[in-house]
Structures are given as C-alpha cells and as structure tokens.
C-alpha cells in the first residue's frame, strides 16, 4: 500500500500541504515548564527508589528485622505460657 497508488493522489497531496497550527507561545511555555517539573520529579523518584542503601533496607533488612522481632516475641509468649501451665 502506498499513498500514491490511486486516482486521488492530488487529494492526499492537498492534505499533506495543509498548514500546521500551534498553541500560543505563552501556552507552549507554560506546558513546557509543567512537563519539566513532572519529568524532574519522576527522575528523582526513580533515582531514589533505585539507590543502593534505600532499596537494600526497604526490601531486605527492614522486613528481616521486623520478622525476627515478631518471631522472638512469639517464642517468648509461648515460653511464658508454657511456664504458667508448668511445662
């Protein structure tokens, strides 16, 4: 399929020749500023999320410490309960 394979080539050519429109300079500048801000925020967020210490603590050390504390708490409860009932 090509653009110029039919009898209406001149119509497509007329469409290709249509002028391009744009928003006002003020609108374009405002949108550019807004997009820069979002882009920079997203970049900081991505870099922060991917940084070594943050990721290591959030994904491994933090859950491991919390899990160990919960396990120790549970063991101590069971041990005291056993002592109360004379085991």
């Amino acid at each position: 399929m090509t653009l110029h394979d039919g009898e209406n080539d001149h119509h497509i050519a007329a469409i290709a020749a249509l002028k391009t429109y744009d928003v006002s300079q003020r609108h374009a500048a405002r949108l550019r500023t807004e997009c820069h801000a979002v882009l920079q925020t997203q970049s900081r967020r991505t870099v922060g999320a991917g940084s070594g210490n943050g990721t290591l603590f959030r994904r491994i050390i933090g859950p491991a410490l919390a899990g160990a504390w919960c396990l120790a708490y549970l063991v101590e409860i069971i041990r005291r309960a056993a002592a109360v009932y004379g085991f």
């Binding site: 009898e7 119509h11 002028k19 928003v23």
Partner: protein, 197 residues
Amino acid sequence: MTPMDRDDERRLVARLRSGDTDAFDDIYDAYRPRVFAFLLRMSRSRTVAEDLLDETWLRLVQHAHTLRPDTRLAAWLFTVARNLYWSYRRSSLVEEASVPELLALWPSPVPWPSPFDLAAASELQRRVERALSALSPQQREVLLLVGHEGLTPTDAAAVCGIGAEALRQRLSRARAALAEQLDDTPAVATFKKGYAT
C-alpha cells in the same frame, strides 16, 4: 512531515528516559505543532485541542522512564492524543445524551466558517479543511495520520488500534469520501491541473 531519523530518535528516547529536559525540549518542539494540529482537526475546537495537548505531553513525561528504548515517538504521541480525543468524544456524547438541558447553557460550538477556517492560507486549503471536517472522525484520523503526518501505514494502523488491512480499507474509503467532498470545486480543479503537470 520529515520523519525523525531512527538513531536520533533512539538517542532522544534514552535521554528522555533518564529525565533529560533538553531531550524533552527537542521532542516537544518537533512534535507539539503536529500533535496540536491533529487534535485541532479532530476536535474542531481550539479549547478542547489545547486541553488534550496538555494531557498528551503530561502523559509522556509521566511515563518517560518506562518508555521502551525502541519507542517510536510519533506513533506513541499520536496514539495517546488519539485515545484522549476518543475518550473526550465518548464522555461528551454521554453528557449530551444525559443532560441536554445543561449543555444548552454552554456556548455552542463554533460554526463553520470559524476563525480556524478563515485563517486557512488558500482557497484550496480552506476547501480541504472544510471537506475533512465533513468526514467521519474515523476517516479524518486516517487521512491526517497518513496524509498529513506522514506516518507509515503500519504506524498509523498501530495508532488507530487496527490491522494493516483494516487501515488500508479505511484509508481507501476515506480518500473516496474526501474526493466526493472536494470534487467539482474550482480550486481543486486548478490544483489537479497543477499536480498533473
């Protein structure tokens, strides 16, 4: 429209993914008028086109870091712009159907000839703009994407969410409909003569 070199495009995408605002500026300056003109011709409303344009670019920066390295920027941007337009159109149709009394309070759409129409550079352009506006949105979008934006049929099909064969048929019908709208106008006859020589 001159398509962007693939290597340049890959480099720009890589820089954009890393949050480079200069890369964003290059893309923004290259595609902003094209996307806006597309949205303007689809929506036939400057206000709507401006809103949808804002949303299109905000979507790009929000998803910049998740773009694939081989992303084709024109196809990506026109896909988002097109989807936003159709979402807007669906929601406005729902509003129109459910609360007509509220719609009556809003200013009516600009009738043709609008300032946009009058600003067309030539008689032929004015007639082409008018003929395009008379087509269905589905026909208008394929003609604009392929005829004006220079997207390949493959990219245009992807933008429209249809297969290559469906696009070929839709484009063929759109061309016929446009020809029907345009034929027998003096300006087109003159253009045809010039095109043939």
